[in-house]
Symmetry: C3
Subunit: 472 residues, 3 copies
């Protein structure tokens, strides 16, 4: 809490303290530290890379859009407006420098958190800062970062090169015109920055403006989206459009993992009710679950990997939703079932070897109880990395320990950074690689794994499993 | 199992074995070992401190009332009567010395348990015993402890001084006359031994004698407790009485975390049915949940901190309840939901910065999935320490590891001993401080936290967070 | 992935890396490494020991029947037929050597898994193999193992001697004629290979051919199994038959832990509906739960230990069930409740000191929340070891850490290998003993337990607790 202290990244950070284990972890990390970054799932803005313009200012790049950061300050009584988060009604917010100072004076809240690790590593390695952020260094940081952002070396495409990013997937709605991705392809960046098909706005009857969204889908595709077959055809058309922009995967952010496999008449009735706005919650669950099974069927046709991200209770605070909109840190995980919920999907496609479904969870109690046993049996299932709140040092340890003994490594999908915070991507992958090496080193030290196997698996976890899982 | 062995407390107990981590833990513990004890939540008897009389005998002080101990022996076939637990029908029980011998001959059951740690530390540091308890030392222990208890140095107030207890909160019913606390204030102990407002007997329709309790509440306050407004006013009056005796907090032991926010007419109907004894289980849940929201509203007025302790299935064994009454070790934790259950409360008050709600749980699966994400967003929420069965070495490690990465340290409330076992209080705080230092030392050794920050956080965890959370 | 590497079992495997902890673990393990094997729960074939014929070939002994192995290869796209798993329709399968080669070329999937540990230890210690299994060594392995199996030293009874197996329990249906166990008794192996009473086929209305099974039970016993009393009497008769063949325990594989305690008329109605095939799922649950309580009543009469193994969603894949039958790796754990589900049983028998019920779980979230608190109070309850997917290094650590602080060691039942893989039994017990010693060593190193107590507990965990729990 005193004056500024040195910002130093210890080369052995996140490795176990016991010297023999640490030495093994260090050796394993040496094999993977410089490998390229494979980022098959994330939420950066494709406009950044298409337009390649300089970022505006430190606050709007690093703080305001990062709900990992703003939620922590909010929990301690800081108003979101004071961090630059814009209310929907246009009320004034703090200017970028003031917001940065507010952030800097609360950065001690991140001690012991992954955000703290990511921030320090970003400040040190991307901006070369040598003192820790705090009230006394707030302006120094702001000026140094602002200055850097104005240079060509910090334009988005330059950062992709500098970070060694082999491939980066963004996420778009089926209503997106994909113009940014078209430009990327035209300018030689196709295959490096790719899109992902995320149909929630036209699939989830509870999504804002669902009816209008579906209507717009119809216009875009020329399909009769009021008929079940036409609606599916419209989705199929858009999937092809996304495939053409490099997409290898779809993504589905459902509140639960419920799947369904109804006859066509029932599907039509569910769609009718959804479009009429008369579908009850149980019906909405069935409709989402039905579309998920249809997506799996289409994946068997077109080869796209299906990602299921269930279990977030989105917009838990109605007042925050009303004032600021979505994605402001008010999404809370909840208990999630898989074993029964996935039955309709698995009964139909579970044994397909050419289908790949990547399962994520926000309910860690399912790792060992449900997900690892499922993925350790069904050929179509692969487990995604620890997600969101669990994309952290302890979270990754819990994941590996709970999953590995039943599912092995081969049924996992490597690491996702899943972030909209572009500058934190190298730090996030570094943390993941360090934890994986620490885990593997522990197995080696306890004679549960040979050193050769550990080196092989470290590379699997760093890049190969992700490339394979996402068919990159 | 052989003869008596030396009872020795190793100065490095509970610290990780790896020498570099242990050295850091030892250093951190050096900063906090001698800090005063802040005990904002517990169940000691205020009569002890008001009357300041000697304790009767070792068994009735240390064994009979401690259901952590009696339940373990009971699980291995020892009758509760043989430990001095009095049946309600007045059946005879073992005399104190016999009960002590029975206890001593089973103390090996506590190997590897927190009770074992607390007992050994209490015996060694409070009574200066130098051999371990066992059949061979049962009488030696009994005599030494009995002798000590007869001295002035072991009177309750002297123990508060000796233990360095800065503040100790007891817990009383709204029907309590608070005479002991009045006497404490009159004799200069106000603010040191304080009360806590625990309204379960007049709030929970399933509580024994609920109707009579509510009627008595009406008599005490002169309010018409058959009317919803009068009932609330009666609670408000008693809260003020408790505030006047130093209370800074209320406490609520609900079976679930359900909250409710009904209109006044519905509230009146729920109350009517509860008083008529016709409320069904769902209605009882709603009534308890409604009162909780009313308590939050009153907390905003009077500043009292609201503690919610949900999830215990009390009196799981009807036979034990019938024969011995409540709190005899037959309370079993159960699965507990927070994310949906707290919505009515959080919709109304979640964004209030001047409200403090401290959440506890007996369902550890909620730490990372629900509680840390909630407390890491809502300004009013703070997480209590690991509770009851989880107030243990492994329990505290699990809690810190599951909570810290999402909620940080600032959204936690420090340590509670939550005990009726006065003599164990120093040992319980020492165990907590040691585990916190061990956890922090691990973060330092893995370069996830600086040593300076760790020292600061160790003091936070030992005393500052508790003072702040409870507004002491 | 390169050529064959040396297969070496490190003497310190599974011990923590920190040298002082490792030294303690090694010392503790020295006390228990050579103790006999007590195997009170498993699924080996009694015909092996009764007939004592040589095993046929490596694949059919080690791979095909072991669904831990086949499911992992299946999850990566290998057809079960290619591992020799026989479809019910008689379709051809790979010959043993081909299947072995397929297995060998996928053995890298088991890196970091308990199956990997068990396999390596079995290959090294039972067959003296010195290179690791892989594509290059597949034939070497096959030939060496086949050659060994043809010798007298590898006949089933010789293996029991060689493995130091003091007692081995198999599991039979009430419809079994127990002829193998009769022969074992006649040939002097009684008490060494014993049976276990597993009545699922005549208790679970959802079991294949339930009605015919119950009818057969009536024929075997001469009881009128269409009447509730006659049905119970038939079970009682068969329990006595099993007791006469050495059985000390019953075993119950219910989908949930639900118990029930209905009046006789209700029981008759449930049985009638079950036999008529008209029982709905809720009724089936009640009938199973009722029989469980009846089994507890009979256990009080005849002294047999009641084992409850709930929570597996059996035959999750209907296609695999249809093609291959039961026990092919498609059983998936699910969330399981105990606190409310066991009430009817515990209300009636919970306080009985002469009843022993051993509880297992596939839902680790219940260890600390429900099972340890229940077993730490009710005299009749004992906790089984980590089961099935959790019978692993990390699984055992989680179990000890979650259970010990509330239930101690005395309320646990030691280790079960629970396997049909005879040759892996020594490896499984060795892994369990090593993990227990590692856990105890950690407690000693952190000064939470004395070394003497740890040595005593290590022997408890290795053999004494199992003997006591199963009344051997």
């Amino acid at each position: 809490m005193a004056g500024p202290m040195a910002l130093e990244l210890h080369p052995d950070r996140l490795f176990p303290a016991e010297p023999s284990v640490r030495a093994i972890a260090r050796e394993l990390h040496g094999h993977v530290a410089e490998l390229p970054i494979v980022s098959p799932h994330g939420h950066t803005d494709p406009a950044w890379f298409a337009l390649d313009e300089p970022f505006s200012d430190p606050t709007r790049l690093l703080v305001t859009p990062d709900h990992y950061l703003t939620r922590m300050l909010h929990s301690q009584g800081v108003a979101l407006e004071d961090l630059g988060v814009q209310p929907l009604d246009g009320s004034p917010v703090a200017d970028p420098r003031s917001a940065w100072r507010t952030f800097a004076s609360h950065v001690h809240l991140f001690r012991g958190t992954p955000s703290g690790l990511w921030l320090d590593q970003t400040f040190a390695t991307v901006f070369g800062l040598e003192q820790r952020l705090g009230p006394a260094t707030a302006d120094l940081y702001y000026d140094r970062i602002a200055e850097a952002l104005a240079t060509d070396a910090f334009r988005p495409r330059a950062l992709l090169d500098r970070f060694g990013i082999e491939v980066l997937a963004t996420t778009e709605s089926p209503l997106d015109d994909l113009a940014h991705h078209d430009r990327l392809i035209a300018e030689g960046w196709g295959g490096r920055v790719i899109t992902t098909f995320r149909p929630d706005p036209v699939v989830d009857p509870d999504f804002e403006d669902y009816g209008a969204n579906v209507a717009r889908l119809g216009e875009l595709t020329g399909c009769d989206v009021t008929r079940w077959d036409g609606y599916l055809e419209a989705l199929r058309v858009r999937r092809a459009d996304f495939r053409a922009r490099g997409a290898t995967a779809t993504d589905h952010g459902h509140p639960s993992a419920v799947t369904a496999d109804h006859d066509r008449a029932t599907c039509q009735r569910l769609l009718d009710a959804a479009l009429a706005g008369t579908l009850d919650p149980g019906g909405a669950e069935q409709l989402r679950g039905q579309v998920l099974v249809e997506m799996a069927a289409m994946s068997l046709e077109d080869g796209m990997v299906l990602q299921l991200h269930p279990g977030s209770r989105r917009n838990h605070s109605p007042r925050v939703l009303e004032r600021f909109g979505r994605d402001k840190g008010a999404d809370i995980p909840g208990r999630t079932d898989y074993v029964d919920a996935l039955r309709p999907l698995l009964d139909r496609f579970g044994l397909e070897r050419d289908l790949r479904i990547i399962l994520f969870t926000l309910d860690e109690s399912t790792y060992a109880r449900e997900l690892a046993p499922l993925a350790g049996f069904y050929p179509c299932l692969t487990l995604g990395p620890p997600w969101w709140f669990f994309d952290s040092v302890e979270g990754m340890w819990r994941h590996r320990r709970a999953v590995t003994e039943t599912a092995g490594f081969a049924n996992t999908a490597g690491f996702n950074d899943d972030t909209r915070a572009l500058l934190s991507i190298p730090a996030r992958h570094d943390v993941a690689r360090r934890v994986d090496c620490a885990h593997l080193a522990t197995l080696v030290a306890e004679h549960r794994l040979s050193l050769d196997d550990a080196a092989d698996l470290a590379e699997d976890c760093a890049v190969r499993l992700a490339r394979r899982a996402y068919r990159l």
